[in-house]
């Protein structure tokens, strides 16, 4: 078994919407640590829609919380629209979150004040801003209209269906016109029709407002709809997908995380050989220890 690998050409890029460098996050107490992120390097350009994929416990949600400025990195940096989050104080971070970040959580009910009406939730989301009440109300009604809840403005959120709640949650997340929309499993608890509605609304927000979208998902349809995918494995960016193609991402230390479908070919502990090809590519070839020649054994 062998895999051909090719380095992409270097190009100049504008200020990214998201930049993570060597992001490390360790949970727990001394002696009982769990490394959730082990050095994530990630760049997301403005207006991109990115799906964060990966198995449970890989660190997707932790990465999302870092992007929302809710966690402090153990090591590494996170920049949102060019602002390094670790350099921001609490008030500045709050302000950044208010102005530039919208967050959509997995459980529809978690995004909302269940006792408030749809309009009340919309207004609450805007309450820290300096808009007049009339402006807030106008924006709220416009957004509710956009997510198909124009008639539900006076309904209590806790009494809405799951799909309605998630659409309302999306409207709330977009209430202050964020440049970055972070969504954690936005469709996981929705029926297919509601899920499709939510995906469509996210796409529409991206198209009309230029909002950068980063969504954690297990849903292939969501991933496909968002275009770019980043797969997190064991706390690292394992691979990236673009336009239907899946790429392995090389870590700063040169590490590669193989796609899951190759693990049968390269089981844990197997030996592989990287062979530079004449066309500039690199060939990864599995080596059977039983067939090693003297030179191989000496090299080992």
């Amino acid at each position: 078994m062998s895999i051909a690998m090719e380095a992409p050409p270097a190009t100049a890029t504008p200020t990214p919407a998201v930049r993570c460098e060597s992001l490390v996050h360790v949970f727990g107490t001394p002696g009982n640590e769990v490394a959730a992120l082990r050095g994530v390097d990630l760049v997301i350009e403005p207006g991109e829609m990115v799906a964060l994929l990966g198995p449970s416990g890989a660190g997707k949600t932790t990465l999302l919380w870092h992007l929302a400025g809710l966690l402090k990195p153990t090591a590494g940096t996170v920049e949102i629209n060019g602002s390094p989050l670790s350099a921001l104080g609490g008030r500045a971070l709050t302000s950044l979150r208010l102005r530039e970040i919208g967050l959509l959580l997995q459980n529809p009910a978690s995004n909302l004040f269940p006792s408030r009406t749809a309009l009340g939730n919309m207004l609450f989301a805007q309450s820290p801003t300096r808009r007049t009440r009339a402006v807030k109300r106008k924006r709220a009604l416009a957004l509710l209209d956009r997510v198909g809840l124009a008639d539900a403005a006076g309904r209590v959120a806790g009494l809405m269906s799951g799909g309605e709640q998630q659409r309302l949650a999306l409207a709330v997340a977009l209430a202050n016109g964020p440049k970055l929309l972070l969504a954690d499993e936005p469709t996981s608890q929705l029926d297919p029709a509601s899920a499709a509605d939510v995906i469509e609304l996210i796409q529409a927000a991206n198209a009309s407002l230029g909002t950068t979208v980063v969504a954690v998902t297990h849903d292939a349809e969501v991933a496909a709809a968002l275009g770019r995918t980043i797969t997190i494995r064991d706390g690292r960016v394992g691979s990236a997908g673009h336009a239907g193609r899946e790429f392995i991402v090389v870590g700063k230390d040169g590490t590669l995380t193989l796609p899951g479908d190759l693990l049968d070919e390269f089981p844990a502990g197997s030996l592989a050989e990287a062979i530079r090809c004449e066309d500039g590519g690199v060939l990864l070839r599995r080596v059977d220890p039983g067939n090693l020649g003297p030179a191989d054994e000496e090299a080992l």
Partner: protein, 1046 residues
């Protein structure tokens, strides 16, 4: 959609905790209000009790002076006001505090020319003016005098002076000229004279009788006095300026006009007045007991203030603790919203404001609601407990205390919400809530250390388990309860954790789940703390209340003596016992008691009919250990043996024979007690010179008990005469009727003894025998020691029941004063820890013996009382009044209980009971609510278990067991702590404003009385717990798992 509406929607969503917070906050504010408001109302009640229940003299200022009668009283009043008003803050305040002054001027006019027995001292007749006299006297004839020289006379004077309306009285040399009688008046009743401040001083100055000058002379009723002639003050003002007289101005406090805040000024002003040098130099004397009264009231206030403060603080602290408990649950319930608010860009201050907005607004609502509730409770308590008509005001202090309690509540809410507000958003979403599951030892350590240190301080300060009494002992139940609560709250989860392995194999799923939930739920420990502390307080308060009520009943029974006691005056010439005997022939409903109080050692002689008294007096356990029926027999071992000259007898005679060796000029005198005289008393009639033959004398006012036959000489004998005489044939005559022999008279020697007329300095020498139905009496007579033949109709010394407060010995003679104010030797044959009617200073003797032992009996010395059995007072009183008996006052045991119940300590005890009961109910309710909330938070867990085919009944059993264990453990720990506190400290907690010397108080809490209210509270809580448990399980449905709602 307004923000307010959104707010109310939030409250509705968290209705349970919202109502809980509101209720507890209202109770906290009410507790803050109740203490000061109740204290103020109770102070007013104590003050009013102090003013109303005092005899008029105790709440009056009496200024007297003498001199020319012209303008004498008005000048005195002016001088008095000039000193008093500035210290009271002006005339207006003085007018509010005092009733209109009663100005009296007293002069004298000659007595009417009436024949009186030889030797009788006849006094001048008082001529008096008294402000508004005609409004206070009942005229039996004529009109009120309106001009100078006009007078009202009493009926007795009119009869004695043979003068009628329209007649005149010549005042002779006194200078008042001729007085014109415009009418006659009836004497005020004894009750009016005793209770109406208008008559202060009048009983002795203006009316004849026992109190009149000279009437109390122990030498006997040889004084004749007359009732006053009342005249307008113009009679004095227009009299010649050479006429001297006396003036009195009486200023009596108006009880309804005195307020609590007046007391300091009042006491100071009266003090200034009584010590004013200018008045003294003007020959004005001012006396008043008002400073004593104010000191007593102030002392009683002191006995109220400290307990109320201690009780209010404990209740307030408990309410704050409860608020903390519920607010913690509320904060947890709101934690997702707080996290969302942070996510939505809320900064620190806005997040705090958002996080505590609901409890804060509820607290704001609770402030006026609690203040009004506290006010209402105060009004309710005042209506039930305090003196009728006592106002319950919402004082500024009460409002301030309510505000303080609300602020304390806000602090509790902030502390409770601190974890939630500081918790990172991600921690909230991770649902780890590690900080919520941890419970620091630091707070427990602080609480426990504080409680133990407080207890140690109280112990070291002598407030616990010492003879010292102090209200700080009321802190013990709270501190002990807190200490036990902290330990118990740690024990319960540990005990449940220890049961993990056992419940895995035994006891079923319900017990298995319940044990784990208790062991792992941090809220359970808070619940235990609050429950234990509040039930410790409640148990102690209940025990303290019932112990105090029991002691109040004991003291009231001992002080009053019987269910009803009337102070009475029998009609002239009639024996009260005879009248009472007619009113109650059975002798079981009423009995007569003569009380003599004039002893120097403070003892009180109660002269009783022993058998009746033993039945009617109130005997509580511990008063007297023996049989009261046996006691009655011991007090009067034999009926008094008297030689009685019958009623209507007008003459007495006896025969003397065989006189030998009598001094020249010797006379014989017969001494007797006149039962039929106006004032009773011993009198003597002269039988004339001692000679062989019949000796006779005139009589009046019989029946009469012969007490002595004496021989007298006008001179002190220069030598000693040893002589003898034989006496016989004692007989009486009524009018001109036949002579009737008196039986046994002089025919038997029993009861007669030879001795001396005077006890001091004379040796009894002589003998008596009775040969041939006659008394053979021989004597030795020398100096001034006249021989006498004494009747000995009673044991000597007189058997008595004595209070242990007077003597601890039954072996020796106890000398006290008899009904005549003279020495009476008694022999205590039994001791009582409390003597009914005079608990610590009573000495009870047979009334018959006491009367015989008295030379002279006067109502001026002894107070005549009629004691009645329960329920008999009204009927006996009406019968007595119908028989002409004047009832001066009536006191029932219930009256005394009522007064004692309105003293500071008792009022504080009721406040403690009400507050602690409310706290226990509230704590129980909060505990049930907390358990319910915890159960609701486990709905998904229960739903998963249901989906996993765990039977619903097992889940129901789990919740019920959890509720039962947490509630039961907390309650039991609290009840035990409360009982222990009661046993330790109750005897140190004041129960009376002035601790009674007797009867001995009982401090054992009555088990049933304490248990019943606790059982009721526990039953209510159990019902609520069952209801909550069922509701929790009913709400748990497997469908919740699909909805993903927690």
């Amino acid at each position: 959609m307004s923000g307010l509406w959104q707010f109310f929607l939030g409250l509705r969503q968290r209705a349970g905790v919202s109502i809980g917070i509101l209720l507890v906050a209202v109770v906290a504010a009410a507790a803050g209000t109740l203490g000061p408001a109740y204290d103020a109302a109770a102070r007013t009640s104590i003050l009013q009790d102090g003013l109303h229940d005092q005899v008029p003299i105790a709440r009056a200022i009496e200024a007297t002076t003498g001199g020319s009668v012209i303008q004498l009283a008005s000048g005195l009043a002016t001088a008095e006001a000039q000193v008093l008003d500035p210290h009271l803050g002006g005339r207006a305040t003085a007018s509010r505090l005092f009733l209109p002054p009663v100005e009296a001027v007293l002069g004298q006019v000659p007595p009417p020319k009436v024949a009186e027995p030889t030797g009788t001292q006849v006094h001048d007749v008082p001529l008096a003016s008294r402000t508004g006299i005609c409004a206070h006297l009942r005229l039996t004839a004529g009109t009120c005098p309106a001009a100078r020289d006009q007078v009202l006379v009493s009926a007795a004077y009119a009869t004695a002076a043979h003068v009628a309306t329209g007649g005149t009285i010549d005042t002779g040399r006194t200078g008042y000229g001729t007085l014109h009688v415009t009418g006659e008046y009836a004497l005020p009743s004894a009750a009016e004279l005793a209770n109406d401040p208008y008559w202060l001083g009048a009983q002795c100055d203006d009316f004849s009788g026992p109190c009149a000058s000279g009437a109390n002379d122990v030498n006997g009723p040889s004084v004749k006095t007359f009732d006053a002639l009342f005249t307008p003050v113009a009679t004095f003002d227009q009299a010649p300026d050479t006429i001297q007289g006396a003036a009195t101005v009486v200023l009596a406090l108006n009880p309804d006009g005195v307020r609590s805040g007046d007391l300091g000024n009042l006491s100071a002003a009266v003090g200034e007045l009584t010590n004013d040098q200018t008045l003294s130099s003007d020959n004005i004397s001012v006396t008043s007991s008002i400073p004593v009264l104010t000191a007593q009231v102030t002392s009683d206030w002191g006995s109220l203030d400290v307990p109320v403060l201690v009780i209010s603080l404990q209740l307030l602290l408990l309410a704050w603790l409860l608020l903390f408990l519920i607010a913690t649950d509320a904060a947890e319930a709101r934690a997702p919203e707080v996290a969302l608010a942070k996510l939505r860009g809320y900064g620190g201050v806005r997040t705090v404001a958002f996080g505590i907005s609901e409890p804060a607004i509820l607290l704001l609502i609770s402030f006026p609601a609690g203040a009004l509730t506290g006010w209402g409770l105060t009004a309710g308590l005042a209506r039930v407990l305090l003196r009728p008509g006592t106002p319950a005001d919402l004082t500024p202090l009460a409002i301030g205390a309510a505000a303080l309690s609300t602020l304390g509540g806000l602090a509790a809410v902030l502390i409770a919400a601190r974890n939630t507000l500081r918790r990172p958003v991600t921690a909230q979403w991770q649902r780890t809530a590690r900080d919520a599951t941890k419970r620091g030892w630091v707070l427990d350590g602080i609480l426990l250390t504080g409680a133990v240190a407080g207890l140690a301080e109280l112990l070291a300060g002598g407030n616990v388990s010492s003879a010292r009494s102090g209200s700080l002992g009321l802190l013990v139940p709270g501190l002990l309860g807190l200490a036990v609560a902290v330990v118990a709250s740690r024990l319960l989860p540990a005990a449940c954790a220890a049961l993990f392995r056992r419940t895995r194999r035994h006891g079923g799923t319900g017990l298995f789940l319940a044990v784990r939930h208790i062991a792992r739920r941090p809220g359970g420990t808070r619940t235990t703390i609050v429950l234990t502390a509040s039930f410790a307080l409640a148990t102690f308060a209940i025990a303290a209340y019932f112990v105090q009520q029991g002691n109040i009943a004991r003291v009231a029974q001992a002080q009053n003596g019987a269910a009803g006691v009337m102070v009475v005056t029998a009609p002239p010439g009639q024996d009260l016992a005879t009248i009472v005997g007619r009113a109650d022939p059975s002798g079981t409903q009423a009995t007569v008691v003569d009380r003599y109080t004039g002893t120097s050692d403070g003892s009180q002689l109660l002269a009783v009919n022993p058998a009746q008294w033993a039945r009617i007096a109130q005997w509580a356990p511990g008063f007297y250990d023996g049989s009261t029926a046996g006691l009655a027999k011991q007090l009067e071992p034999f009926p008094p043996s008297t030689v009685v000259l019958p009623a209507r007898a007008t003459a007495v005679r006896l025969t003397a024979a065989g006189i030998r060796n009598a001094p020249p000029g010797a006379t014989a005198t017969l001494w007797m007690i006149e039962r039929g005289s106006t004032s009773g008393g011993q009198t003597s009639v002269s039988l004339g010179p001692l000679r062989d033959g019949t000796l006779a004398a005139q009589l009046s006012d019989c029946p009469c008990d012969i007490t002595m036959l004496s021989l007298d000489s006008d001179d002190v004998l220069a030598k000693t005469y040893s002589g003898s005489v034989t006496l016989s044939a004692l007989a009486t005559q009524a009018g001109s009727g036949p002579w009737t022999p008196v039986t046994p008279g002089l025919s038997r020697v029993t009861g007669w003894g030879a001795g001396s007329e005077f006890s001091e300095g004379c040796q009894s020498a002589g003998s008596v025998s009775a040969p041939d139905s006659a008394l053979a009496w021989s004597w030795t007579w020398g100096g001034a020691c006249s021989p006498a033949l004494n009747r000995r109709d009673l044991p000597s010394p007189v058997p008595a029941l004595a209070a242990t407060g007077l003597t601890q010995s039954t072996g020796s003679t106890y000398d006290t004063l008899g009904l005549d104010g003279q020495n009476l030797a008694t022999q205590p044959i039994a001791l009582a820890a409390a003597v009914p009617g005079s608990p610590s200073s009573g000495i009870v003797v047979s009334r018959a013996y006491a009367q015989l032992a008295a030379d002279y009996i006067s109502s001026g010395f002894a107070q005549e009382e009629v004691w009645t059995a329960p329920g008999a007072l009204a009927s006996v009183r009406s019968k007595l009044e119908a028989a002409g008996v004047q009832v001066a006052s009536t006191t029932t045991t219930a009256d005394i209980e009522s007064v004692l119940s309105r003293q500071g300590p008792a009022l504080a005890s009721v406040l403690f009971l009400a507050a602690a009961a409310a706290a226990a109910l509230l704590a129980g309710g909060a505990a049930v609510l907390a358990l319910y909330q915890a159960g609701r938070r486990r709905r998904l867990e229960y739903a998963a278990l249901l989906a996993g085919r765990v039977p619903r009944r097992a889940l129901r059993a789990s919740v019920l067991i959890e509720q039962a264990v947490v509630l039961g453990f907390g309650i039991i720990a609290g009840v035990v702590a409360g009982i222990v506190a009661a046993i330790i400290v109750l005897r140190n907690v004041p129960e009376f404003a002035t601790p009674p010397a007797s009867p001995p108080l009982v401090y054992n809490p009555p088990a049933v009385s304490v248990a019943v209210p606790l059982v009721v509270v526990i039953a209510v809580l159990a019902a609520a717990a069952i209801f909550a448990a069922l509701a929790v399980i009913r709400a748990a449905r497997p469908e919740l798992l699909r909805q993903g709602q927690a």
